[in-house]
Amino acid sequence: MKLQYYLFALLIVGGFILGTTTLINDLQNSTGIPVNTSYNATYNKIDDVMGLSAEATAQMQGSEVETTMQDALQIASFPVLKMVLNSFSLVQTIMTDAVGDMGLPEWILSILLTLFSIALLFSIISAFFGRDT
């Protein structure tokens, strides 16, 4: 897989996760519906991602240069990087919370996390060493 395509894929997955996160956070705040306490870690992480998103937006808006996409990523690079890492660890947090909520044994969680990590590793390897087709 070409590196360009890999970055494009990351953008799509990240955008989807960020979109769903925003929707959950928005609805949770506007409706005030209580959440399941088993998923506290997930909801805390969602709050973190939204805080980082707000921070990145504030930094981009505070800049005086004419902001293009590349400028924006440089100006707000730190919150954006944290946001990307948080988005990926959000999947792991959801898995951890869900396994705890359903009362499944720990080894299932280990298998799930191992599979997810292997998939992530293989996708990164394919971006640099895969066939350019």
Binding site: V13, L23, N36, M102, A119
Partner: protein, 99 residues
């Protein structure tokens, strides 16, 4: 003679429809109706556009709708996060496999 149910004031989306059916059937069949709608959506797209298009469209729609369903009180957090993970999984599958 069947009971005369009051008509919904706002059936503007799948969420409102499921909410209405839930109210009519005492919190039982709302989610069932929504699942049937999703299956019909998947099947019709599959017949016209093929598996990959239908898989992508319906799983993303399912993930987004599940958030709305959860905050209208039809499903639990567990089901919502499961649907979101299905959406993420489908996107990853489509991106990292060849047509």
């Amino acid at each position: 003679m069947p009971i005369n149910y009051t008509m919904p004031t706002n059936v503007s989306s799948l969420t409102s429809l499921g909410d209405y059916v839930n109210g009519v059937t005492d919190q039982v069949f709302g989610i069932g109706i929504l699942v049937v709608i999703m299956v019909l959506f998947f099947t019709s797209l599959n017949r016209v556009y093929g598996l990959r298009t239908s898989l992508g469209s319906s799983s993303v729609l399912l993930a987004i709708m599940s958030i709305l369903w959860r905050f209208t009180g039809m499903i639990s957090d567990r089901v919502m996060f499961f649907c979101i993970m299905v959406g993420v999984g489908a996107i990853l599958y489509l991106l990292f496999t060849k047509e």
